[in-house]
């Protein structure tokens, strides 16, 4: 499984190549916005959430989504609020605001055949929708089962951490510099949401956990995510399936890297050796014909 995790070096190369990607389509305009504050993260506090769903309305209106009434993500619902309860105490309900977790090392981006998914320096993982061919590879790669098809637009869509509210880049013709936070964050009536440098968010969350207890989801899950969630208890005890700390890949993806690639490399090596052998023989033969009487040379070639 080790192989499936990008090493730090690989990750840097990978991010570098993402940064080289020309900004096109939806992002037309202002070019690269440099992160001044480093990685920004969203903090979701389920110990405070009262399930008011204001965040959902804010998300739907900022992204002009049709406000579907659902508790499952779809291509036109970027976030949902789920009811979860402790396994030990079914009566104790908490509300979980759920969306793309904006992985630090996003599996979805790695498998995309058109490089339509991009991880911003500020943390957001964004699908550049006009580069998406709707193949669904990212749906299967995501450890949180987040990306979904928008069947009307024929592309995959998901939460983009409202990057167009603070990076100066455009999304569906919409951008703004007036806001510094995702739409959902400011809308919460009980301040269960927060947004800022990831380190600060972790510090705040730990302080909160010292007071009320709980578990900070997103520090190690799927290799670390830029959405952090305070749960009342460990994910297992909240009836959630915890994703592995190491990245999981769909068997077809593992097949490509762990089976198909080595097989191809071996086959190419064998045929390359054959060709090299024949070429050496061909050259030796032609040299021998050129200098037929030069016995020394001849013997050297054969030796």
């Amino acid at each position: 499984m080790k192989k499936n995790t990008l090493s730090n070096k690989d990750r840097r190369v990978f991010l570098k190549s993402l940064a080289l990607m020309p900004v096109a389509g939806s992002f037309a305009g202002s070019g690269e916005a440099r992160a001044t504050t480093g990685v920004l993260a969203k903090l979701v506090d389920t110990t405070k959430c009262i399930g008011a769903l204001r965040c959902k309305s804010a998300c739907d209106s900022w992204n002009r989504l049709p406000a579907e009434r659902t508790t499952e993500l779809t291509g036109r619902t970027f976030m949902v609020v789920k009811r979860i309860s402790q396994v030990r105490n079914r009566e104790k309900i908490s509300f979980l605001k759920w969306q793309c977790q904006h992985c630090q090392n996003p599996a979805c981006a790695r498998v995309c055949p058109t490089k339509a998914i991009r991880k911003f320096d500020q943390g957001a993982v964004v699908i550049v929708e006009d580069k998406c061919i709707a193949c669904g590879s990212c749906h299967l790669a995501c450890p949180f089962d987040v990306p979904k098809f928008d069947f009307d637009m024929g592309v995959t869509r998901k939460c983009h951490l409202c990057f167009n509210r603070y990076t100066g880049l455009r999304y569906h013709g919409l951008k703004s510099r007036t806001w510094s936070k995702p739409a959902c964050v400011g809308s919460c009536p009980v301040s269960a949401l927060d947004f800022g440098p990831r380190e600060d968010m972790i510090r705040k969350a730990r302080a909160r956990i010292r007071d009320v207890g709980g578990y900070l989801y997103g520090v190690t899950e799927a290799g670390g995510t830029d959405v952090l969630t305070i749960l009342r208890e460990e994910p297992g005890k909240m009836g959630m399936v915890a994703p592995p700390a190491e990245l999981y890949y769909h068997p077809a993806h593992s097949f490509m890297s762990d089976v198909a690639k080595p097989l191809i490399v071996i086959a190419l090596g064998l045929s390359g050796l054959t060709v090299a052998g024949m070429l050496a023989q061909e050259i030796a033969t032609s040299l021998r014909e050129d200098s037929d009487d030069d016995q020394n040379d001849d013997q050297k070639k054969e030796g």
Binding site: P22, R110, P113, I133, S257, T274, E302
Partner: protein, 245 residues
């Protein structure tokens, strides 16, 4: 073989076959380059990331590269099927020839020919080994094995490729579970096929012994001595036929 020009020439390839061969060459090169340009995962792309990065900087987005790849593939398949319908005889002949296998003769050929190619005739003689090579029909065993790989790979690439094309371009809501497997198989078959093509390319374009075969891929003809030396059984067949007439 020096007096190629004066020697009697024997017809070996139809114009249709020659066209199809070069059409395949061009299409498969485009398909291979754009195909490898769509593997953005550094753990999977065995050629390294320079190719996808380069293609994205030329075409602006991976989607364009994907579309070039898909439409070239579909275009190739269409032309192929038109030929298949109108030149059925040519394909029937091809399949009959590549399926004619004689285990004893073919095995000896494989061993001796490969030894000869790798060690050279002189060394074989010195080692006291025979340099006799069993006579071959229209295709020799190496060509046949490559033809088998081409047939199987072509079919699998066509099936998986067409599925992926229809799924994303026409249906727009594929079953991702099928799609990722189709892609994985497509990738494996294409990579193995490349390994076969490498040998084919060497034999045809670089090896001096096979130079007449390369020429025949343009003119359609080979010299009598080449035919006699490399495809004796076929040569005799042709002779018998001309005698009958």
């Amino acid at each position: 073989m020096q007096d190629n020009t004066q020697e009697r020439q024997i017809h070996r390839h139809d114009n249709a076959a020659i066209f199809m061969h070069w059409f395949n060459t061009v299409c498969w090169m485009v398909l291979f380059i754009t195909g490898m340009g769509l593997i953005f995962d550094p753990h999977v792309n065995y050629l390294g990331m320079w190719l996808p990065d380069f293609l994205v900087s030329v075409f602006g987005s991976g989607k364009t590269v994907a579309q070039i790849h898909m439409y070239t593939g579909v275009g190739w398949a269409l032309v192929f099927f038109v030929f298949f319908l109108f030149r059925f005889k040519m394909y029937a002949h091809f399949v009959r020839e590549v399926m004619s296998i004689n285990p004893a003769r073919d095995f000896t050929w494989m061993v001796r020919k490969n030894l000869q190619l790798l060690l050279g005739k002189n060394l074989l003689k010195k080692l006291g080994l025979s340099t006799e090579i069993p006579p071959q029909p229209f295709y020799n065993v190496g060509q046949k094995l490559f033809a088998h790989q081409t047939l199987v790979s072509g079919m699998l690439l066509f099936i998986t490729g067409l599925y992926m094309f229809v799924a994303v371009e026409i249906l727009a809501n594929p079953n991702p579970e099928f799609w990722v497997w189709a892609r994985a198989i497509h990738f494996l078959i294409a990579g193995l096929f490349l390994a076969g093509l490498l040998v084919h390319f060497y034999m045809a374009a670089i090896s001096s012994e096979e130079r007449p075969a390369l020429k025949s891929m343009f003119t359609g003809e080979v010299s009598e001595s080449y035919a006699k030396h490399h495809h004796k059984l076929w040569y005799q067949e042709v002779k018998d036929e001309t005698k009958k007439e």
